[in-house]
Symmetry: C2
């Protein structure tokens, strides 16, 4: 762990530390972090230091988790045969997805770059333990799916933390979850959540790649807000 991670653990161990103050300058910078985070599909070849990868995973644990169950499981994938199996699974699933579109939409889909599996130096698969002992089941009796939501928030924590180091993350979901469990030989019962490509991005932008490619645009926030 780097010095920053060391500092981090000192925060935790000193509950007498005064609460941090977040000023307008921090908030503005935090907004920039949110806005300039991207789902990255084009990576430069430089490696990401192992220490940094470990630090990002350690930071992910500060995400909320239902009942403090920390149900997330991170798997670093380096074995070429396993990476190849994942890549082949993507190719098959993506071909099926393409066949579900027609006309201009199919043409457009075929030209989208949807993953950086060949160039990302770091591959991380994320799973969830659907029934962890930790947390003693608190908070998930009526909503067992909250363990998966906890893992999604851990991924997003890692994603934002990576971006503060100029490291990009791409979330690949065009995969068959059962095939990924098999390809990576993880403990029986783990549920696949995401396959992350991690590395230094070729480019930076405040706009989503799908928006720049003309596939879809963001809606106005009022579109998803109701009062009751």
């Amino acid at each position: 762990m780097s010095d920053e991670a060391g500092d981090l653990f000192r925060f935790r161990e000193s509950p007498s530390t005064p609460p941090p103050e977040f000023d307008a300058a921090f908030r503005r910078h935090f907004l920039e972090l949110l806005v300039w985070r991207r789902d990255v599909r084009r990576f430069r070849p430089e490696p990401v230091a192992d220490e940094l990868v470990r630090e990002l995973i350690a930071m992910a644990r500060f995400a909320p988790s239902v009942g403090l169950s920390e149900p997330w499981r991170f798997v670093r994938v380096d074995a070429p045969a396993r990476r190849k199996a994942v890549r082949e699974n993507f190719v098959a699933c993506n071909a099926e997805a393409l066949s579900s579109y027609s006309g201009d939409r199919a043409e457009q889909y075929a030209h989208l770059k949807l993953e950086g599996l060949d160039t990302a130096p770091v591959h991380l698969a994320v799973f969830v333990d659907p029934d962890p002992e930790q947390g003693h089941g608190l908070g998930r009796r009526t909503m067992p799916e909250t363990v998966a939501y906890s893992a999604a928030m851990a991924i997003y924590t890692l994603w934002l933390a990576a971006r503060t180091h100029r490291v990009g993350v791409g979330w690949v979901s065009i995969l068959n979850p059962k095939d990924v469990v098999t390809a990576l030989d993880v403990p029986a019962g783990w549920r696949f959540i995401a396959y992350l490509c991690v590395g230094y991005p070729e480019e930076e932008s405040p706009s989503p790649a799908l928006s720049r490619a003309g596939w879809e645009q963001r809606s106005d926030p009022s579109q998803f807000y109701l009062e009751r």
Copy 2:
């Protein structure tokens, strides 16, 4: 929208803006934000400005979403009868949860404070459209659950942004999803993700409430890391 939100939209509209730089001081502050975020159950009575609530919801949209589908739906709940229905649902579900424990664990559970429904000035229910037109289905053919993960990340965005304003968020999951859909009369087909209590917290801490109450402790990050 406040000036900060105005600035935010200008970032988006100017892709020629140079990418932001995040230095060690920012990263340290960002870690503090993660560490001092809490699932808040005890709120002070002061209101949260409507403008700030709208700004937080607007910021949530910068979360990643599968296929840029923005499937999250935020519902602000103010009607006393609807709040009462949600509270009664919590009480019933929590009684059932308590009955699943025995001995010391049941005793301990009975003393936990698991929600701030009575005191939180702002209630936000979050749903997902499981099959949104936006995004044209991209990325979720094999993993339809990714729409719910997108909503979880939007919630976490709002949660962290709230904390930068010293506003706390508590996620209530001890509810029956179908009953919440009925109580809030949202469009048919929406799926319930979370009920959020929002307000100024009574106290701040770098440690989770469940850890301080002795219910559960965090594990070492090496516990949820594998290499393949």
